[in-house]
């Protein structure tokens, strides 16, 4: 990375810091300071007595404020949230339909008999009266840290996707789930557990996964075993069959690392899409069989260059959507 790239990233980080601090309001702090001063007024003794007199009520006030703020942060949608038997360790309001905070994800921690840290991720939908109902839940075993939920929407599409994940720092693996929400129906598109030395991120409607692989991972018959483990990169793009018969993609442009796998995720079991692509740059790895789900299509980024991948309902159809692909060096 050169200095220019770093400066750009620092500029982005600055904007992110502004966004982070925008949510904080020091007006409450001002009132607390005034109260502290009022409480200290009239205490004529200086030194230790003054210190103690000032601190004792302060400790209580600070604790109360801390608890109040904690509740505020953990319950950003107010008091309409569900009554939980346990306290969620992370709660995030998300919008999966037209309303901004239409859904919510909670992560609960619970121990199994081995006292391992497990997480239960629960996706709630807010009803018209402000009540919540569970529409999806999933357990992530031996997971330590919940990650923020990302929502993927397909432009002019009819569905939204929630991406839920967790990681374990000690064991260095991740778990993740991709859940589709459409017309009040939930479908799990993707479930991966114990991804070794993994990193996962949602960028521009695409899920990018990095994992550490054993030497013989993805080895084809007759290929020489690589000398040591390496990194494998995978890009997942949700695809949706619209009611007009065309396919919609969550993104139309993607840059892949050479050797990476591109996976189109669909839920169309009976009508596989017709696909056209540049076979120099891309190679198909699996179509409907052996992929991450029963209806995924895997491509391998074989060679550096650019390619266009057309996806339509029938061969030669005019109703095709196009994905522009750039394959870059590792």
């Amino acid at each position: 990375m050169n200095d220019k790239d770093l400066d750009k990233k620092l500029s982005t980080a600055r904007s992110q810091s502004e966004r982070f601090f925008d949510k904080f309001d020091f007006d409450r702090g001002i009132r607390m300071v005034q109260r502290r001063i009022e409480e200290n007024r009239g205490v004529r003794n200086g030194g230790i007595k003054r210190y103690i007199t000032g601190r004792v009520p302060l400790a209580g006030a600070a604790a109360a404020l801390t608890i109040a703020l904690l509740l505020l942060v953990l319950d950003p949608v107010g008091h309409l949230g569900p009554a939980n038997p346990g306290t969620p360790i992370l709660q995030q309001a998300i919008g999966m339909d037209e309303e901004r905070d239409s859904h919510m994800v909670n992560y609960f921690r619970f121990d199994n008999p081995n006292s391992d840290n497990n997480l239960l991720a629960v996706l709630w939908r807010k009803g018209s009266k402000g009540n919540y109902e569970v529409i999806y839940s999933s357990i992530m075993e031996n997971a330590y840290t919940p990650n923020p939920v990302a929502v993927i929407t397909i432009p002019s599409g009819e569905s939204s996707f929630a991406f839920v994940s967790s990681s374990s720092k000690d064991e260095n693996y991740i778990h993740y789930r991709l859940v589709k929400y459409s017309s009040s129906t939930v479908t799990e598109y993707l479930e991966e557990n114990y991804v070794p030395s993994g990193k996962i991120q949602v960028i521009n409607g695409m899920i990018f996964e990095e994992r550490t692989i054993p030497a013989d991972y993805n080895l084809q018959a007759g290929e020489v075993k690589p000398p040591k483990p390496g990194k494998a990169y995978r890009y997942f793009i949700p695809v949706e069959l619209r009611s007009d018969g065309s396919f919609a993609l969550a993104t139309n442009r993607v840059r892949l690392k050479k050797g990476a796998i591109l996976t189109l995720l669909t839920d169309i079991l009976d009508e596989p899409p017709a696909i056209e692509y540049d076979t120099e740059v891309l190679g198909i790895k699996s179509n409907q069989t052996g992929g991450v789900s029963s209806s995924s299509i895997d491509f391998e980024a074989k060679k550096e260059g650019t390619a266009s991948l057309k996806i339509g309902k029938k061969p030669g159809t005019d109703n095709a959507n196009e994905l522009f692909i750039e394959v870059v060096g590792p």
Binding site: K9, L10, Q16, R19, G29, V33, R36, L69, L70, T145
Partner: protein
Amino acid sequence: MLTQPNPRTTGADNKKEVLEYLMKRFGDRVFKLAYYYVRDRYHAEDIAQEVFCKVYEKLDSFRGDSSYYTWIYRITVNKCRDFLASSSFKRLLPWGDLSTIEKQRNQADTNRLLEQVEGGELFSRVMDLPTRYRMVVVLYYFEQMTTVEIAEVLGLKESTVRTRLCRAREMLKKTLAGEEYI
């Protein structure tokens, strides 16, 4: 528009007026500075409140040798350093009490998650830098302070600030390299 009251006039009411002006003028910045140090919004808020209590207490003795801004920043830095020192000490006390240590670890993770959710991944990555490097980076790049101002606030030589900035940039280059998508 905030109008600066005259700090030279005496009297409790005037002191309160000055304090209110200072809190409105610098409250957010003091909170941010404290957060950059302690990386916990509740502790940062508590520190910010303590800073202004201290400011109120010392307002009569403020001689105007430096600007209010620098004076208040210095108080904040000292409070944060005290907090971190006492916090390190507290971490040694509950030895054997693993659940307390676990709670602290969980809280740190939660704070980091909030940074990612409410700010962004890059902000959180900058905050992951060790404190001495983090402080110069955030003051220089986020708060747009000059190296001279940073040196004054942190009580360092300007050359030290520059050295730390260089080292922090190298650390960030390594950390962020090859993570266009991360």
